[in-house]
């Protein structure tokens, strides 16, 4: 096993993973439900999400040199294990498909009006199939390669818009804190950071698995800072109502920024930024699909699934949802339930079974 994924790579990938789609595509949904409670919900959600990923980490650490797909049946039994693997496959397929659909919708709505959706998806799927074929090590390295620039730009963009900020609204982050809004936002953020736990499917690739949870904590901290920078600046610029009604508030924020007279707007440049970050996220989820599929089918070399799975996801993303409200509906209800099961229930079940079996082994007299 080529164990070359460093904690720095994990940190880079999960940072991009955690903030990119929220800022790019889901900020309006988050602000719609949480309004001025969003910053507090983001902080609380990041802490809880990170903590909720702990059982997954513990399960991975129980056998860091083996894939969960290979030893999971010893913990929970064969049928539940394979059911869970199929569930992980489906969940990752859904996440990939949704992200891809959101990306193509964003491009079609903002920059490539009239371009057929399949053309956008096709070219992106070529990139995805290639990186998944190259392997998980390449995906992490790509994340590491782009992380510094992307994180820096994501962090800086809100500060460019400081002239537009209505600083009088700042007090509202405390005075307008409401439990219902807070809970809504927190759940969304928990579910985003809870996806850190998916790493337990990949423990044998890690160079220093024992330090993974520490990396999770650092990741949660830095991703939260970047998220907060955007959430606060969008709220202070547009207010919660307008922000919730804008399709892509982060991009509209960029449109407010005037770098100078030599360039009108640099929001098309944002495509490159969004795209590279989303690419990392989707490729990670797509690799998990391919990995789960190889565990389920018993195929040792998961590379062979890269192209067919990519093609399936590409085609599926075009037909999965017909309208934008349908997508919003799905993200608000069903998607939350699907993620809760995948991120918390299943890893917790594995963990509990691991604890029971460890306890039983200890209780069993030696010899």
């Amino acid at each position: 096993m080529n164990t070359k994924v460093t904690n720095m790579s994990v940190f880079s990938l999960f940072n991009l993973y955690s903030f990119t789609t929220i800022i790019a595509f889901m900020l309006c949904l988050l602000l719609d439900g949480s309004a001025f409670s969003t910053p507090a919900a983001t902080i609380a959600g990041a802490i809880l999400g990170c903590m909720m990923a702990y059982p997954a980490y513990k399960v991975g650490m129980s056998r860091p040199g083996e894939f969960l797909g290979n030893y999971g049946h010893e913990l929970v039994g064969k049928i539940p294990h394979y059911t869970f693997m199929i569930y992980f496959l489906i969940v990752n397929l859904i996440i990939t498909t949704i992200d891809l659909r959101q990306l193509s919708d964003f491009l079609l709505a903002e920059y490539l009006n009239g371009t057929p959706g399949w053309a956008i998806v096709f070219i992106f799927m070529i990139c995805l199939a290639y990186v998944v074929y190259c392997g998980i090590e390449t995906i992490f390295l790509v994340a590491q390669g782009i992380f510094l620039i992307n994180a820096l730009i994501f962090l800086i963009i809100p500060f460019f818009a400081y002239q537009e900020l209505e600083m009088e609204m700042f007090n509202a982050f405390v005075t307008h804190l409401q439990l219902k809004d807070f809970s809504f936002g927190m759940i969304k953020i928990i579910l985003m950071f809870g996806q850190l736990g998916f790493l337990f499917l990949l423990f044998p690739y890690l160079k220093k698995p024992e330090k993974t949870f520490r990396t999770f904590v650092f990741t949660a901290c830095s991703a939260t800072v970047i998220l907060l920078a955007h959430v606060i600046s969008v709220l202070l610029t547009f207010g919660p109502e307008l922000a919730a009604n804008l399709m892509y508030p982060a991009m509209d924020l960029v449109r407010f920024v005037r770098v100078g007279s030599f360039i009108e707007t640099f929001d098309p440049i944002l495509i490159i930024l969004f795209l590279t970050s989303v690419f990392v996220k989707i490729s990670f989820n797509l690799f998990l699909c391919v990995l789960c599929l190889s565990h389920i089918t018993g195929v040792k070399e998961c590379k062979s699934f890269a192209l067919p799975v990519s093609a399936f996801v590409g085609a599926y993303s075009l037909v999965v949802i017909q309208t934008q409200p349908e997508l919003v509906d799905f993200l608000e209800y069903e998607f939350i339930f699907i993620l809760v099961v995948a991120e918390f229930l299943i890893p917790w079940l594995y963990w509990i079974m691991l604890l029971i079996r460890t306890h039983m082994r200890k209780a069993k007299p030696a010899g």
Partner: protein, 522 residues
């Protein structure tokens, strides 16, 4: 300038070291039968000279060599006359002892062999073979003397402050360049001969204790699979031993500068020198290494950093400028300030082609001009360049075939591609520019982003002899960044690159400790 070979030829060295190897021919001690075999082998080789002579002890002798490959005067004086002079004082039974045991002949370095096949190889490697009747042993002499090119300034890697000399086609001389710079017994040079017909000598140079042993082993392992009749030059080896032969990016660095080669092997890399090739191959290589120039290390670090950053910017320009122009004018005109947009639109009004066609026409014309300039005789090259660049460019704009903005874009891209220090890398970027232009014309910025993602994934996945091509950026090795994004001052570069060596300490970190002491002038 003539050059005399002082060190043993690889084949001869091998022969000397392989006394236990089975002999290909066994013709005993009879001179005539051995000469007959050699004459048969060298049949119709008009340049092979076989000279028979008899010495005063009564022994018949023969020397064999290739005409014009050795100094005939040396053969006459140092071998034939010397042998006759010494033989006059010796009795017959002593001549063999004198020649083969005591190595009495002082003509250059000589080796004793017994295998006629090895003797033939030695002659082909521009040596002299001496046979004597009555003993199966033979002597080979290294007194090759053939014309070689004089040392000139590196034509493709010229610098302002650094040394001027460059490698030439002669392997032995090239090795001398390295040895003169690294006067240490840790500099190891291993020879290998490849090519069944060309018998090309190849030297693998590295520093023991700095270079990873497994790297040398890996290079030798890959070379061991080369089984061809000819090695035309370093490129023949490069294409066979590189990791990904389908990649557009070079996975071995070449240099025509001995200082670059010695600097590289001092960092833990391996230099491969091929006889007949005036440059060294360096392995492994990374993309940041290919963006470094020798000049970076001869200028003061402030200027070197500035130049290096300019280079980085223009690498991006060389790859992306035409694509960005196409994307912005076709898909994202809102990015351009309105006044400039009006100017560009006015300039393009008379142009019947879309931006992509314009860019393609101009870029291909520029590539053709550049290719032609390599082959055009130097006396008219400059005139043709001026005609191509100025007259055709201006005429194309006036005729309304291309817009003035496009001429500026293509010219700037052309200049940018010359800034890339490594020619092969420049070629890769020139090639990749075209598919990205196509993507930009179809999908705008999104197309460019997808193109860049594909290139980046490929670069990240690529390895050169086990070293990631994008290191120290991906994977991130913070300590190695001091000679990647910036060129740190010499006194700060106290570590060798971690990716290349385990012996990372280059110098003590107190190079400027004298600033804390009080000098006599203060």
């Amino acid at each position: 300038m003539p050059f005399r070979r002082k060190t043993p030829l690889p084949k001869q060295r091998k022969a000397a070291n392989s006394s236990s190897s089975p002999q290909s021919q066994d013709y005993g001690t009879d001179l005539e039968s051995r000469l007959h075999w050699l004459e048969n082998e060298f049949e119709n080789c008009a340049d092979i000279i076989i000279r028979r002579f008899t010495i005063s002890t009564g022994n018949d002798c023969a020397i064999i060599y290739i005409r014009n490959m050795i100094n005939q005067l040396t053969v006459q004086n140092s071998i034939i006359r010397s042998l006759q002079r010494e033989a006059a004082e010796l009795k017959e039974y002593n001549i063999y002892e004198f020649l083969f045991d005591a190595r009495g002949l002082t003509a250059s370095q000589n080796d004793v062999i017994s295998d006629l096949k090895l003797g033939m190889d030695a002659v082909l490697q521009s040596g002299v073979l001496l046979l004597i009747d009555g003993d199966e042993r033979m002597l080979t002499f290294n007194i090759s003397d053939y014309p070689t090119r004089s040392i000139e300034e590196a034509p493709n890697e010229s610098v302002i402050r650094g040394p001027r000399e460059s490698f030439i086609e002669d392997l032995e001389k090239n090795l001398t360049f390295l040895r003169r710079r690294i006067k240490s017994n840790q500099l190891k040079i291993e020879f290998k001969t490849l090519g069944r017909l060309t018998n090309t000598s190849i030297a693998i140079a590295y520093i023991e204790g700095i270079c990873k042993p497994e790297l040398v082993k890996e290079i030798k392992r890959r070379m061991a699979h080369i089984d061809t009749d000819s090695i035309d030059g370093a490129t023949s080896i490069e294409e066979i031993i590189e990791d990904n032969p389908y990649s557009p990016f070079p996975q071995l660095q070449y240099t025509e500068r001995p200082d670059v080669a010695s600097g590289s092997i001092l960092e833990g890399r391996v230099a491969i020198l091929v006889d007949g090739t005036p440059m060294a191959l360096l392995a492994p290589v990374t993309l940041p290494m290919l963006l470094q120039s020798a000049e970076d290390y001869y200028q003061r670090y402030v200027a070197a950093n500035w130049i290096r950053w300019i280079r980085f910017i223009f690498v991006v320009v060389s790859l992306l400028l035409p694509s960005l122009y196409i994307a912005v004018t076709t898909f994202h005109p809102e990015m351009i300030p309105s006044k400039l947009l009006i100017t560009i639109a006015a300039a393009r009004e008379n142009v019947p082609f879309p931006a992509l066609m314009e860019a393609f026409m101009m870029e291909i014309a520029f590539e053709a001009l550049r290719e032609a300039s390599v082959r055009i005789p130097k006396s008219i090259g400059q005139a043709v360049s001026i005609i191509g660049a100025l007259i055709i460019g201006t005429a194309a704009v006036e005729a309304g075939i291309v817009s003035a903005a496009m001429v500026i874009i293509v010219s700037l891209t052309g200049i940018a591609s010359f800034i890339i220090p490594h020619f092969d890398l420049g070629l890769s970027f020139r090639l990749l520019r075209f598919p990205i232009m196509l993507l930009a014309s179809v999908l705008g910025m999104y197309g460019i982003a997808c193109g860049l993602i594909l290139v980046f994934v490929h670069l990240v996945h690529l390895k050169s002899f086990g070293v990631p091509y994008m290191s120290p950026i991906a994977p991130l090795v913070i300590k190695d960044l001091n000679d990647t994004l910036v060129r740190a001052p010499r006194w700060k570069m106290d570590k060798r690159p971690l990716q290349l060596t385990r012996n990372t300490t280059r110098q003590a970190n107190h190079a400027r400790a004298w600033t804390k002491q009080k000098g006599e002038l203060e």
